[in-house]
Symmetry: D2
Subunit: 339 residues, 4 copies
Amino acid sequence: MAAAAATHLSVRAAPALRLRGKGTCRLLSCYASSSPPPPSSGEGFSGKVGFLGLGIMGAPMASNLIKAGCDVTVWNRTKSKCDPLLSLGAKYESSPANVALSCDVTFAMLADPESAVEVACGANGAAQGMAPGKGYVDVSTVDTATSKLIGKHITSTGASFLEAPVSGSKKPAEDGLLIFLTAGDDSLYNRVAPLLDVMGKSRFFLGDVGNGAAMKLVVNMVMGSMMVSFSEGVLLSEKVGLDPNTLVEVISQGAISAPMFSLKGPSMVKAAYPTAFPLKHQQKDLRLALALAESVSQSIPTVAAANELYKVAKSLGLADQDFSAVIEALKAKEQNPQP
Amino acid sequence: MAAAAATHLSVRAAPALRLRGKGTCRLLSCYASSSPPPPSSGEGFSGKVGFLGLGIMGAPMASNLIKAGCDVTVWNRTKSKCDPLLSLGAKYESSPANVALSCDVTFAMLADPESAVEVACGANGAAQGMAPGKGYVDVSTVDTATSKLIGKHITSTGASFLEAPVSGSKKPAEDGLLIFLTAGDDSLYNRVAPLLDVMGKSRFFLGDVGNGAAMKLVVNMVMGSMMVSFSEGVLLSEKVGLDPNTLVEVISQGAISAPMFSLKGPSMVKAAYPTAFPLKHQQKDLRLALALAESVSQSIPTVAAANELYKVAKSLGLADQDFSAVIEALKAKEQNPQP
Amino acid sequence: MAAAAATHLSVRAAPALRLRGKGTCRLLSCYASSSPPPPSSGEGFSGKVGFLGLGIMGAPMASNLIKAGCDVTVWNRTKSKCDPLLSLGAKYESSPANVALSCDVTFAMLADPESAVEVACGANGAAQGMAPGKGYVDVSTVDTATSKLIGKHITSTGASFLEAPVSGSKKPAEDGLLIFLTAGDDSLYNRVAPLLDVMGKSRFFLGDVGNGAAMKLVVNMVMGSMMVSFSEGVLLSEKVGLDPNTLVEVISQGAISAPMFSLKGPSMVKAAYPTAFPLKHQQKDLRLALALAESVSQSIPTVAAANELYKVAKSLGLADQDFSAVIEALKAKEQNPQP
Amino acid sequence: MAAAAATHLSVRAAPALRLRGKGTCRLLSCYASSSPPPPSSGEGFSGKVGFLGLGIMGAPMASNLIKAGCDVTVWNRTKSKCDPLLSLGAKYESSPANVALSCDVTFAMLADPESAVEVACGANGAAQGMAPGKGYVDVSTVDTATSKLIGKHITSTGASFLEAPVSGSKKPAEDGLLIFLTAGDDSLYNRVAPLLDVMGKSRFFLGDVGNGAAMKLVVNMVMGSMMVSFSEGVLLSEKVGLDPNTLVEVISQGAISAPMFSLKGPSMVKAAYPTAFPLKHQQKDLRLALALAESVSQSIPTVAAANELYKVAKSLGLADQDFSAVIEALKAKEQNPQP
């Protein structure tokens, strides 16, 4: 059962939840949010849900909550982005503080650490509407220090705080298949579990605030480095006269098959990099991971080598393309140096 | 249809075959090998099959052919290894030459290039039993030069040659789920396709002899480099206080999920490396891949960095353990320098 | 002539000064500091010199100024370290503010950025004794941001500021053979040039504050990376049966001969690392250089690879030994991993 | 004394020789080669000297021998290259075999392993003119295997063999300042020491044939890696707004000062790479060094990273320029990838 599963303090997932049939259960649990839940259940979320930040990720996440029957109040810096959600039945408040004031738990999905801090702690920020009994769940991807800062502001009001960065980009957000890497207040974790299950396919509770950010960083680090290994394989296969599309297919059938390779491989072969995760963000994550590794004196040589290539790609003008464009950094261009 | 699919000269897989229900089809096709096939089918293999080399890979592969109803004749340097197959119904011949003489197509699965050459081209080697109309399929993993050498010996007898190294280790061999990376004679490829489909889940025809070896090398190169990236993540997560088992689970649910990580991650966390693919072989493949890349001036920096770690692991005495033991090379050990 | 040489705004050294016979000239110029200089000379420093920080570097630097006849006033956090200099004729003041108040120019040589900031900007810090007409020369090695912060505090009093980190360690400090990498106020540079020439063998004026720190970082970066290349050569020669001492000697005679190799090579062969420049400081400089390179998207792959080895060396417990101990990170130790 | 110094079997240089005034001594010792030496001396070479191969290196080396008074007989594949030496007083023979037949010791300086083998072991090769009492000194740079092959052919005639690759390029060859890394027959080493001292400034006897080649490889490996470290520094300094020429000058005064940096730095800053040592040869040496390191499981990560850049430089079309052109591989070029 979810409530029990989440009382533990140690780092673990709640696999039982991930195995549930999703449709029925969610509808049930979130339906419960606008009418009394079955007394013996304990499952489902009862209360009003706030959602701050309706960008590429936030909009589909909030949308999924509404579709599941939750009572959702939204806010976005650019108000027009709220309209599609209002038409789905969401309510609107004119500031983060007002959203927090009118809701039981408030989610925030902002683009960067600065916005996350501003929305939580700034003038008319969420903290001003917080109080004991309320909860704030920051699902933005921020660094450990930022997460701790926000947590401190929120908890100083007596409210509870949960950091919950997500693994997954636009498509999984739309499909309700995100992965939540949470840390902070474990009873808030238990309380919002039904909501996380509406938006995601799995969730992990990792202990103290900061651990969610760290876990996400390590995952993204492995991803960035793997992408370079894969790029090296694609280019080498091509250079020696093999069809790189065949390499992509062969890889897709074996032990190193990964969704990322199958998804991005074919467009990489065509030198097309439609942005799902911007290269500059991947490079930033490698930089942060190298700093994290340095703080504990852990050697990570392939990450260090990979990072140098992302830097080359940035200087090639590819910062805003998909991170798979790092393959361009491995293509030497013929040139005529000065005599 | 297999015959049609394989007439192409370009590099591609035969996806239709992979989508077939396997059980029935195989039984049918290989049953056909010892009695006339249904006249309108054209599918299935009609003839006697030789199999040379019954080690970790060869034994289950030959076994699958026998179980599918094929007429199999075996040989192995150490004769006792033939016994389990004889009890399944295989025939025996006393030399590679005699196997080749008595069979229509002969498969060879040897441990290293030297053995592959000896069994094909040496005294009483398979080439001495070859003749026009017969085929030799070498499924060993050898370098390009060795493959070409064997091919030259075989085709000089008028027989056909197909190199067909496999992707996959012991378990896929037992389960009939190998991937064949073939190159050489395409009509031999068409002819043995039903047999490859008994032993594997997919097959690729890649053109001239050498391309199969090259493709396998590139795949293994990406694998070796990915394993290091993953190892760096596992150790970093542990060093910063996260549970590395949770990292393995988080990775298993996202875009970089790969069977290799799920399979080996849990034992790597426990510093256990039961050998599926020996570290020394992985390092050798990285060395060969670096040489291949150099021959075409392709930069592969993460592979170069990864290779250095496999070398460290070898000097730590881990050459015969699984290649996932490369993680040990990233663990610095406290010590007291100065004499 | 020094005054003329230093009026330039561009980055250059003042080679004429480096070619001067040092003995006579210094004595003359600093003698001038405690009595009126020859009216037509323009060379030499006239005024009182303060010196804050008398550690491994500061003590011999201040000592050289005193021996050259300068009127020197010292301060050190631990007062006892002032005694040897007082016995040479130095005066003493009880705080950085008082030193600055009583002197025309004040030098500071602190161990780290925190101390440098505290001594310059803290309570009773040098800035509190600064005023128009006075100069502050920080010869500590700090990062660009720290240097700018200190400069801002100093110049807000109307005084002039020069950053002047030195290249060279204990021995060159004692021998008056340091290299000054200065930036900031160029008329202060001209004014203190005779003092720099007492303590060093050459000096560069590099423009705006921050450039001195950046230049020092780049030099140390190349040094750190070269040390790893050299270590790899030493170990490889030994492993293949050559005498590594012979390698050191052969290198000392050719195009890659460098004082560092000749000085440290013989002890490295014996696995002895008497500390001249602590490994942890070298690793820190590589980290800062990687950050600097990242800020301009410059790829520096050998530095990135080298940095990983310094991290390994740190985790081997070698942080406080000489940076040449990085060679230990390349020695794989036999071990028995768990089964 | 040279004769005594060279009787040792262990690896060491003969420093005494390097400290001698060169002029007088050489004239004396080589004058002795065409008239009886002073009976008690033991120094000087008495006999006829052959020289095969008169390219960029061979011509000035042979020229120095003639100028020192030696009795020199030359041969070159393209006969016209012999003319300048004949005009200095050299004799001519029409084949390597004839040179060997008419001389006491024969030197060979060929461009690559193939030529070295051909000239020593081919038809009319030197081996056909060899006999007990004669010596063959191969000063070409070849790999260990080639050197052993040549040595075997020579010694099978009863003659003695010394491998003696040189460190130093065109200018040191002209100036008689080469460094000889010899191995093989130590009494031949003693015998030709006076000749080596005419052509070089120092010489090392390193034991068994193969050790000279290995030592040269390690030195060149460190050189190739250092050049990349230096290139990274030059580019980084430029990117952050420093004058790279100043970096070159600062480096030239400190602990990492090396002749290579001072010589090549200024032209590298101008992106000019006049060929002294071709980039493709440097890359080949790194490849061979990586193979050597692998054979003994020695990790050399900065060399591995550097090698990848030389490969990039090769694919940029810089193979025949000076190896300092590797800096181009670190310059990312703006481009417009496909959308």
